[in-house]
């Protein structure tokens, strides 16, 4: 596929991610921080998000499986996950975390388990879409093109 086509596919894909609420303005902020001296900045930061999330989701699963559920610990984990998702602009993951924290406040185990499921689903969706986005970027670069920046205000 020629570069122009790849770039258009990329712009359409990322525009959809913003439109559907997967990504918010913070993701654009990350893109602004990427340049020739730091060409992999966004991928690196998002990789940290994947690592953080997988560890926290594991910890949350274990914590909710205990005899005596420690809601304070669970809230702390969800707070961290909310922070990471917010830092990269993963809006739907962040919102799922906000709902989760409300369930923690109510100390309702059933509701928390449902929230955890919701967060896991949103995380997997975000991960799939971001990985697809990065693959498109790689194709553009491999074809000798530059990665276009979406003007989200246009």
């Amino acid at each position: 596929m020629e570069v122009g086509q790849l770039q258009r596919s990329f712009l359409e894909y990322i525009a959809a991610l913003f439109r559907e609420g997967f990504l918010d303005g913070q993701f654009s902020q990350l893109q602004l921080l990427q340049d020739e001296s730091n060409p992999d900045f966004v991928v690196e930061v998002v990789s940290l998000f994947f690592e953080d999330s997988e560890r926290l989701l594991n910890d949350l699963t274990k914590a909710l499986d205990q005899q005596n559920v420690d809601f304070i610990k669970i809230d702390a984990h969800v707070h961290q996950l909310k922070g990471s998702s917010s830092s990269i602009g993963a809006q739907r993951v962040k919102n799922a975390c906000i709902t989760f924290r409300n369930c923690c406040d109510e100390r309702n185990i059933e509701a928390c388990l449902r929230c955890l499921q919701e967060v896991k689903q949103e995380y997997l969706l975000a991960k799939t879409k971001l990985e697809a986005l990065f693959r498109l970027e790689q194709q553009i670069v491999a074809a000798g093109g530059a990665i276009p920046i979406l003007d989200e205000f246009s």
Binding site: Q29, L30, V45, H79, G83, S84, I88
Partner: protein, 197 residues
């Protein structure tokens, strides 16, 4: 400080050059947020030193002695005054930026300890992902220079820098104080831009 240096204070175009003299101590337990902050500060031309906890920040500032490891900031001199002075030479911090919620001591605790110490004139900025008015007020009343909501953006740093510069200039105008070395935002030695022909 002469009139020409006050002029430079007000010259917004020189802000970038002035930032290159600024050394920030950044405190955050999240690896992701450290990476993000590092990039933001570097792009804004600050020099940054990172620590991942409030305790490590205190250690860096010489406010705790690390008895377990060899403390690189300790000197062989037994005089406390000269030991602090040597610590100053090593650290030379102009600004502290800290996350609020961290395991161990919180950003607020760190703020209080800094304000109770020799470093009390160093501006401390607190960052938090939670928009809680009570928390914000507590930090500002506790002496925080500013409170930034996470995720921190480039525009936040630009505003912060203007704010720091302005409050420094106001202080200059109000009382012609002799500034202690290393507690000023701008070096008292002539800035590079002064030597332009």
């Amino acid at each position: 400080m002469g009139d020409s240096e006050i002029e430079i204070c007000r010259n917004i175009g020189d802000q970038k050059k002035q930032r290159q003299d600024l050394h920030v101590l950044a405190v955050d337990d999240s690896r992701l947020d450290r990476k993000l902050l590092e990039r933001l500060l570097t792009v804004s031309s600050y020099q940054v030193t990172f620590v991942d906890s409030g305790d490590k920040a205190l250690e860096y500032l010489g406010l705790i002695d690390n008895i377990d490891e060899e403390n690189q900031y300790q000197t062989s001199s037994s005089s406390p005054k000269s030991s602090l002075h040597d610590k100053l030479q090593v650290s030379k911090i102009n600004l502290i930026m800290t996350d609020y919620s961290m395991p161990g001591i919180s950003g607020f605790d760190l703020l209080k300890k800094v304000k109770d110490s020799f470093w009390r004139d160093i501006p401390v900025v607190i960052m938090s992902s939670e928009n809680l008015p009570s928390r914000i007020n507590m930090c500002l009343e506790g002496g925080a220079e500013d409170f930034l909501l996470k995720p921190v953006k480039l525009s936040d740093l630009r505003k912060l820098h203007s704010h720091l510069l302005n409050s420094h200039c106001q202080k200059q105008d109000k009382d012609s104080i002799k500034y202690k070395e290393n507690t000023t935002l701008l070096e008292t030695r002539p800035l590079p831009v002064l030597s332009m022909n």
